[in-house]
Amino acid sequence: MKLVILSWFFNQQSKIAESTMPFACIFVPDFPVEALLRTEPELRAQPLAVLEGKAPLQKVFAMNEPARHAGVAPGMTKLQVEACSGLVIRARSELQEAAAHAALLDCAQSFSPHVEDAALDTLVLDLAGTESLLGSVPKIVRELAHRASDFGLTTNVAAASNPDAAVLAAHGFCGATVIPEGKEAEKLGCLPVDILFAAQNCQGSEEFLEIFQRWGIRNLRDLAALPDVALSERLGQQGVYWQKLARGTTSRTLVPVEPLLIFEEAIELEYPLMLLEPLAFLLSQMLEQLCTRLGARALATQELRLSLDLENGAHGEEIYWNEVGAGTPTRRGRQRFQRTLRLPVPLLDPKTFLKLLQLDLKAHPPGAPIVKIHLIAEPVRPRAAQNGLFLPPSPEPEKLELTLARIAGIVGEEKVGSLELLDTHRPEGFRMQQFVPREPQGLKPGNFNKTLHAGLKPCSTLKQDSDSDDLVTGLRIFRPPVVVTVTTQDGKPTCISCSKRGEIHGEILWAAGPWRSSGDWWEQAGWARDEWDIAVQSETSVAFYRLVRDLLGGRWLVEGTYD
């Protein structure tokens, strides 16, 4: 009795498992064309042919539907296709195909963690367990097609109970297709027999195709109807396998790919770019694609690396590398120009990235025509910020980055940022660094009023907040220090004159000092100086200055004024 119950239980489990284990396939028809159209979507409605091969022997490798209607066929020479009016011709770009494949993977992996990389243009997804998250299988299939179109790819998506049937359906039917379980042979029957070999991409398939054609087998229904034993006797196990595929009854396990978090886009240009505007147009397309891919994986980026291959003959001194080193020649002897855009917080806004890259390239032009663009985004987790209702205002990171880039364009990169004091007594002992505003800390209930609502309190409370006892006398620095002529008496300055600043002139009313300091004497940039605080009569009152005697150079300098 127990045995009967157990066997019934396992049968039920296996039935449930079979019925809830659909597979989906995404197939991109005319993949080389689609890879090019991702960066040039305006060409989608025009006839487009992709050529492959070296310059005099270029042949048509792929074309889109309008080009097919115009009479373009694979294997035609460039000379032949040039006769077609309105036909756009592009060279095959393996870089863009790789980027399109990576985008397709990102799209698929945003639906299922188990994705098999069947071919460059074909991916198979295991949809088991996703129904409860994403809805019914037809809905998932429609969503998949829709998401792929967001990535700039026109796809056929099919779902079936086994991977091979899904692949055949995706190759055979346009748009979104769902084959119910048990109806595989019926649905696939109308497909031509050559689709079997195109989908599986096997070696020696031409031989089988020729045999099937000789037998008068035109579609998969005819192949599925052949007797098994007789087929096995004539074509062996391979023939039986083809028949199983035609019936949609094969069973195999998926070989999922490990997700590689590499986000890069590249374009090899037909002709060199010389202006920033067309470059910005292409960068915009690439950034859109990168951000869509990052968004599909719920990621953002904090570092963008732009690499531009420059045309031959670029001068070595015009090559700039940002924090990497000197320019190096690439293969084909080209010079490469690289810029790295580091952001203080993870962002995912293509418009912000584009503006930042534009501002950066305007400040650091490549110096030669561009023939290849390579853009890489380093993926990071997006910023998770919980803004408090009572926290003080702070600039939005996207806006702030753009503002900083624009300000850097006005005053110079090295003149904007936050300052950091160095551990030295040397004058001007500080350095500028990238401004990243510190996040407001959570306020304790005790000092909430003290920090935020100072304005809502009476003036008497405001007075308590501000402590005038600690008011520091500010020093206004003259950059660079002003060279002055000083008359001394017993080593004490008594009179001062300056040709550059007329107000620093006259008798020194009061002087305190000298305070001697020195440092870095073990290095070439050693310094030693005597500091004086002096008072000089100004137009209306007395002005206090910091007077410095450079002991190494022997000059008198006014470093600043106390104010």
């Binding site: 205002p393 900083l404 008011l471 206090f544």
Partner: protein, 289 residues
């Protein structure tokens, strides 16, 4: 095919005739009509809310003005050694203590980081924009005179002011800053006065209804009516310094103690009228212990 008139002339005339007969009916009908425009009497017009005030970091100034108004332009003017930079640092320090993000547009590149650190400024919350020419001085040519050099210095100052105006525009449009300071302290008075009034109006409009305090330091009043608060700071008269200046002991035995600053409120377009117009405070030099 018959055509219907949109209205009958007779029907249009009928109410007029009725009105002539009974004016009470007209009033009744008029009162029944929906009111198209709501007219609010002047006595009930909404009063513009008073700006929120924040501490300036100097108790005497807070007592004089009630603090610094948010969403308004505050101008502090004064000559060299009048204490305006000390006040600027105090304002900056108070704002960073409130955890606000601040920006300093330093026209003359005159900020001393050591003084700022001593004043308690949190540099992580301060964006420092150092204006000035990006290029170095052009090489001296044969025949360069002293007049040409002066022309170059004047052009350089103008370039820095132009930069400062553009940078301030960007900062105010970006938003999110609690305090934006423009330090025009070392700019020649002629150049500072040449800043068009439209720029000040633009800045004032940009900060209006925002929590930003726009604080400007100038050698003399420049923003005119755009400034909600105008303070003039000056060093106390020479007599007040006489003790320090008359100290004839050895130079190395003396120390700059600090500045004695007098602040005068020249304009306050605020609801609260100040009780007094002058106050005084002292600063302590960093080396004075």
């Amino acid at each position: 095919m018959s055509s219907f008139p949109l209205f009958s002339p007779e029907a249009a005339r009928r109410p007029v005739a009725a009105a002539l007969k009974s004016p009470a009916l007209v009033f009744e009908r008029l009162s029944a009509l929906p009111k198209r425009i709501e007219v609010t009497p002047a006595s009930q017009l909404a009063v513009q809310p008073a700006p929120e005030m924040v501490s300036s970091g100097v108790g005497e100034i807070d007592a004089l003005t009630g603090g610094l108004p948010r969403g308004c332009l505050t101008e502090v003017c004064g000559s060299a050694s009048s204490g305006r930079t000390s006040l600027l640092l105090a304002v900056l320090s108070a704002a960073t203590r409130r955890q606000e993000t601040c920006a300093l547009v330093d026209v003359s590149d005159a900020l001393d980081p050591t003084s700022a650190a001593k004043a308690g400024v949190d540099f992580k919350r301060l964006l420092w924009v150092r204006c000035g020419p990006q290029t170095t001085r052009p090489p001296r040519r044969h025949g360069d005179t002293e007049k040409n050099k002066k022309h170059f210095d004047r052009d350089r100052a103008e370039t820095a002011v132009e930069q400062a105006l553009r940078v301030t525009d960007l900062l105010l449009q970006s938003g999110g800053f609690g305090l934006v300071l423009i330090d025009l302290g070392d700019v020649p008075l002629k150049t500072a006065r040449r800043i068009p009034l439209t720029s000040w109006f633009r800045f004032q409009r940009a900060v209006e209804h925002t929590p930003t305090v726009l604080f400007v330091v100038t050698p003399a009043p420049c923003a005119q009516t755009c400034a909600t608060l105008l303070l003039k700071v000056s060093a106390k008269k020479l007599s007040a310094l006489s003790r320090q200046l008359s100290d004839k002991s050895l130079a190395h035995a003396q120390l700059l103690e600090g500045l004695h600053v007098e602040a005068e409120l020249l304009r306050a377009r605020l609801a609260r009228k100040p009780m007094q117009s002058v106050t005084a405070f002292s600063t302590k030099a960093t080396g004075a212990g």
